[in-house]
Symmetry: C2
Subunit: 302 residues, 2 copies
């Protein structure tokens, strides 16, 4: 099933207790695509400036992703983000954000991508998310992310976007802020009232939770000891999840549960290296399934 | 297999967003025993003052627990604690602690309990934990809890206690403080170097983790929507875990995993009511197994 992702493509500078990298490839859509592409072909849509290095294009194409949807805007600069992880590394301290081209008009979806059936709208202004969605012919499954900025400043617009999507993938703090409730099951259920049929709540090192109208699933994170760079963990999770769903062709509850597990494994790879180095150690869906065997042992009990 | 617990027996005052209770039965040993007793007979050892209400004795005996090990010290007052839960309710704000009788000499283990084979030393001064342990003939499995106060002020004594036990049950903040590492798997492994063969790390609403020299298990919490009073959740968890182990007669790794799951369910009951009301809704091991069926569905994936 065709899978399209729209989101940021950026240049990151990251430091953590395990080291520092400067000017590396990043962005939600890239992290998403590197994981989703393990399961299903991915249509990557985003916009960069003319400073976007050729080597980053090469890295993306070497991953088997095509660049049809990568718009390079002359005279603009690529989105840049600098952050630092300390302590339990669950949250980054943002040191600098230069929106650059992301503050301009959003990307256009290429005509050849308009028939996409599965769609992930990574975090951006909820109005832009609807604009992007409106460019598509008849998507079957639309899932979006968001962030506290829009929850705090664009709640009405965000609710309008939520009314149009089938699923939401957000982190625990966002779910609590959006639903105005500390209990994550109750928060998830409240969010469902605005339209989506499922909510996936990412809890960082504590794993993830799926909330539908009928059921709740909770999966712990894969207990990796080498947490190098958590940047993109949530997008890698969403990518593994959506890539798996696209490979199965539907988002029924059993498939959603299986998809959460694949997202969990992709996120565990992603954080084991800086930038895309972690997830790049994983080159096929079989690599994910191999770690999934270990993961099953972790959560096993009689 | 005989199971003995030593710990506090107290009178609590608790407030949470769901209400307030004043002067109710509490204490680590009581919470532990109410859960452990679902699986195995429990020998409860602790000391109270002569202000300890008869009705609390009645509640304890009505649960099928005998009072042989409950020392009532004339002229002393019972331990009292007052706390409040807000926000995500993962941690209590302590409003008042009156150690009272707990600041005096520790309890004596009755002669008829000295042959106990499975032992849980709930949190107290690590030197007192060793004193209690020294009163026992030949325990087969000794597990202890501790707290940040002893990690910060009595580290050498605590390490001496750790060198004598088979297992440790502590919360995530304590594990991180004790091992001086933020990664819980690494923290768990470091604690094993001081003697225990397993460490169970309690993560509140995020579940628990078992770390042995060879393996890691991670189980999420049961996703209850009615979090009324988290007091005693950790002791209820430890009680369910140790009670199950005692019922099985050994602490091999598969049994430890199963025990974690039972502890998870006991904790989920405990937090659904104030004081012992939550766990009291659960009167047999079958009640635990019934919710365990639901729990298996929560963590299920293909």
């Amino acid at each position: 099933m065709s899978l399209l992702v729209t989101g940021s493509i950026g240049i990151d500078t990251v430091s953590s207790p395990l080291g520092q990298v400067d000017g590396v490839l990043g962005g939600s859509a890239v992290y998403f695509a590197f994981s989703a592409g393990l399961f299903s072909p991915v249509r990557l849509v985003g916009v960069v400036g003319d400073d976007f290095p050729q080597e980053f294009r090469d890295v993306i194409t070497a991953r088997g992703l095509d660049l049809t949807g990568l718009e390079c805007r002359t005279g603009s600069k690529t989105f840049r983000w600098a952050g630092s992880y300390q302590g339990d590394m669950n949250e980054a301290t943002t040191l600098q954000t230069d929106l650059n081209v992301l503050a301009e008009a959003g990307p256009r979806i290429p005509d050849v991508y308009k028939d996409s059936r599965f769609v992930f709208l990574a975090n951006t202004h909820p109005t832009l998310q609807r604009d992007l969605l409106g460019q598509l012919d008849a998507p079957e499954l639309v899932v979006c992310d968001t962030m506290n900025l829009w929850i705090n400043t664009e709640l009405d617009s965000l609710k309008e976007t939520l009314s149009l999507v089938h699923g939401v993938v957000i982190n625990d703090a966002e779910a609590r802020a959006l639903a105005q409730h500390k209990n994550l099951v109750i928060a998830g259920r409240r969010i469902l009232e605005w339209g989506p049929s499922f909510v996936v709540i990412k809890k960082g090192e504590h794993g993830s939770m799926l909330v539908t109208r009928d059921t709740v699933a909770v999966l712990p994170a894969y207990p990796t000891i080498q947490v190098c760079d958590p940047t993109g963990a949530g997008d890698s999770f969403a990518g593994g999840m959506m890539g798996y769903l696209a490979s199965q062709g539907d988002a029924s509850e059993p498939h959603l549960r299986s998809a959460l597990a694949r997202g969990t494994i992709c996120a565990s790879f992603a954080i084991e290296g800086f930038s895309l180095d972690g997830i790049s150690c994983c080159t096929t869906a079989q690599d994910v399934e191999k770690r999934l065997v270990e993961y099953r042992k972790v959560v096993e009990f009689e």
